[in-house]
Structures are given as structure tokens and as C-alpha cells.
Symmetry: C2
Subunit: 255 residues, 2 copies
């Protein structure tokens, strides 16, 4: 499917393509096309050769990995997100698999075109470096979150991050099913349930996808959110300058 102008505009406003001038944009996007996928479609498996940069425009995508019959979720992406950029830059195989969680619309940009754009225009290349650096830092945050916090603390911080992103009110709506949230937080659905009940002490009440907070101070005393791990404002990437590039890879999504 050809790219619609509206989509091209959207990509230029919400991703590192913003820094490309018209000529560079045309070079980097040469041969790109739009594709729709149903839910639960495998876009890419671990070890596959990567020929395209993927840009998620609608829907959501899970990045995961497996070994010896185990599987783990590394990140859940929401629009607008690029993925497997690192493999494209290095012309190497994918280290993660990518599966749609719902019907999704994805812009596929030939790796050759992107690399040519980067080599032609240092300013655009710099923007790609910023994006990669942001992804790297997102992973560092994710590792810190997992190695330094237990599952209840991860949930508490996830909830506070969502609360900040949803306007700071005392009720939020979980953006994913609980089983997906459990995978994102690196625990089983059973333990997510138990973690929620541990937080009822701290004023957290759950009703389906709606979560209420009656004592944020107490919750924060447990969660101890830190700007060196949590990224409460990642969704403001269009208004907060380069904050857009600081992805929450892994535990916290960008929604």
C-alpha cells in the first residue's frame, strides 16, 4: 500500500524523521510502504534478517524473546514508535521477535534507504543517533527497574507512571489487559493479582481496568519513583523537546 501524505506528515512530526529536510526524507523513505496486519501476527522472529525499519502507526506490538521453551516480553510499543532500528543500522539479524497484539498499521522503510539518508545528511544521522541513545537509555532504565525492584515495587511505579501520564487524577485506566501488563512487568498473571492486593494497603483499589488511588503519598513511599529509572513524561515527546527519544523500553510503555 502506498504511503498516505497524512502518514508521512505524522512520521515527520512524531519521530526522528523530524530532523530530515525534504530531500533527505525522500532518500530515507525511498521504497517505503504501508502495511496492515491482523492481531497476533508475527512480524519478525529472532534471528531473522532485518530488511526494513518498522514504524508503528496504529495498534500495538510486543517485542519479545525466547530461549529453551521460555519466553519473555521486552517491550510493548504503541504509536508512533520505530522498532528494530539497531539491527537496521548494523545490517544484522533481529535479537527480538515482534508480534502484533491487535490489528496494526505499520510503515515499512527499506533499511538501505534509511542508511543512505543517514550517510548523506549528518543532521539526520545525528537524529538517528539521538533515537538510538534514547532507546539505549530506555533499556538501562528497564534493567534497573528489574534488578533493583521486586514485583510489587515495579507495579507501584508502573501505576504512578500511568497516573502521571494520564493527568495525575486519582483514577486511571490500565491501557492493557492484565495478562499483558504482567508480561510487561516481568511477572506471572497470578503474581500481578497478588501484587495488586498487596497495594490495597497503600490505597490502591482495582475494578477491572480502572485503578483508584486514595493515598498517593503512602504509595509513593513504597514505590520511591526515581527520574533515573522511571520516565513519567515520555508521552509528551512532541512538546518536551527531545524527551521523545527517551523510550521506556521494557517495563513501561510509551503510551
Amino acid at each position: 500500500m502506498p504511503i498516505r501524505n497524512a502518514d508521512a506528515e505524522r512520521v515527520r512530526n512524531t519521530s526522528f524523521f523530524r530532523s530530515a529536510d525534504d530531500a533527505t526524507f525522500d532518500t530515507a523513505m525511498n521504497g517505503a510502504f504501508l502495511q496492515r496486519f491482523p492481531a497476533n501476527t508475527t512480524l519478525l522472529m529472532e534471528g531473522d534478517t532485518v530488511d526494513f525499519l518498522y514504524i508503528l502507526l496504529e495498534g500495538s506490538v510486543e517485542l519479545g524473546a525466547g530461549w529453551k521453551s521460555k519466553d519473555t516480553t521486552l517491550a510493548i510499543l504503541r504509536p508512533v514508535s520505530t522498532f528494530i532500528l539497531a539491527a537496521v543500522v548494523l545490517e544484522s539479524d533481529a535479537l527480538m521477535s515482534a508480534v502484533t497484539l491487535e490489528r496494526s498499521e505499520i510503515l515499512m522503510v527499506p533499511g538501505d534507504s534509511l542508511r543512505r539518508g543517514m550517510k548523506e545528511n549528518a543532521v539526520f544521522g545525528y537524529a538517528v543517533s539521538e533515537e538510538l541513545a534514547g532507546c539505549y537509555r530506555g533499556l538501562v532504565r528497564s534493567i534497573k527497574n528489574h534488578k533493583l525492584r521486586d514485583s510489587t515495587e515495579r507495579l507501584a511505579n508502573y501505576l504512578l507512571t500511568q497516573r502521571a501520564r494520564q493527568g495525575g487524577k486519582d483514577e486511571i485506566v490500565l491501557p492493557h489487559e492484565k495478562r499483558v501488563l504482567a508480561a510487561l512487568l516481568g511477572m506471572t498473571p497470578e503474581n500481578l493479582s497478588r501484587a495488586f492486593s498487596k497495594l490495597s494497603d497503600k490505597g490502591v483499589s482495582v475494578d477491572g481496568a480502572r485503578v483508584g488511588f486514595s493515598n498517593v503519598t503512602v504509595l509513593e513511599r513504597l514505590a520511591r519513583p526515581s527520574p533515573l529509572i522511571d520516565n513519567h513524561y515520555a508521552q509528551d515527546r512532541n512538546t518536551l523537546g527531545k524527551a521523545y527519544t527517551e523510550r521506556q523500553q521494557g517495563v513501561l510503555d510509551q503510551s
Copy 2:
């Protein structure tokens, strides 16, 4: 301390600076200086403003992070390695602390100079992107290693990686003290001891820093090493083309 020519040459042969022409190298290195630090010196704490790119020329450096009185080791670097590149590119704060493990010699490159070099020369900028992409993939490997393997499996794979890097003989020498190795593998020293004794079934014998293998096949059946997690040849970064950029951040070092 001024930079010695031999050091400049070494950096140009063993890091992403290889792609810089003379003029770009001078731009990117403008104002750089060499500094020596004793063991256990904190170079950088989490949250500090990052003004320099660090290039480790001698010694070793631990990258770590803490939260709520807990600490974790994210990587142990050996020469020649650059670190906190992502923070330099984004002109942001450090997400990790950096501490020397032994007396170390470090080249400090002003962030401004590096950024100027990247913006002046797209080829050099592309090389920095490759480096960042390699660091990113190193972290992905590290997360997979931690989330998919238990501590004994991580040790078994670490040993096989070291064995491959040390020439494939049936005896290797551990490059770190066991307590450092334990931190690197994400476990306590006590559990590292226990993990070694579990591997004695698989033909692994330990004598101080020397580890012998009497049945690699059996060990591999447990470890199940995977090119999508382990990077057996990272030390060959000078001879295997761009493999140098695929860092083992986190669990496996680059030595």
C-alpha cells in the same frame, strides 16, 4: 595530561573513531585529555551531568546503579571501551555510575567536540550510530540472559563464552575476582560458589581463578548457548569487521 600519539592511534584503531578522517578526528577530539585514576574511584554518579565521553585505555571500570539502598552491576568494561556515549549524544544526565575497579587510564573527550564531529561528518556520525546500536544490542542480550536463564545457566554460558574467547582450550583463567564475577552475573558470591559446584557434574573444575572443562558437550547441553544471547567473539573486534560494536553490556564483558 596531554594525549600521547600512541594513545590517539590506539583509539583510532580500536573504536568507532576509526571511521573519522584526520580533520574530523581533530574536531571530535578537541580538548580531550588523558587522566589516571586509582582503584575504586568514582568517575561519575547516577544523575550527574555528563560533560565528557570516557574512553577506557587501561584498567577496568564498573558501571552500576542503585535504588533504595540496593546496588547492581550493569557492566564491567575493559580496554578499549567508550562509555556513557548515550548521555553525551543526548546531553543528558548519567543513568549509571562509573567506578574504577583498578588503577585506570582514561581518555576524556569533551561532549561538545564529539557532537560537533558527528554533525560535521556524516560518515563519522554513522559510525557513532553503529556503536550505539551495538551497545543497545548488548543490553538486549543482557536482559535476555537475565530473564530467560537461571544463575547456573548464566554461569555455564559465561564460562563457555570465556572459553571461546580464550582460544577454546580446556582450561581458562577467570578475568575477574569471583565477587566481581558474581556481581556481573547478577548473583551473590555465595550463589556463585554453589553454581560452580552444580557444574562439577558437567565436568567443570575450579582451582582459584583457573577453570577446567572435561566434558564440554555435557556443559553445552545445559548451557545451550545461543548467538541471539551470547557473543562469543566480541574480543575480535579488530579483526572481524564491525563485530567490535556488538558489546556485551551487562553480563558478559568484552575481554
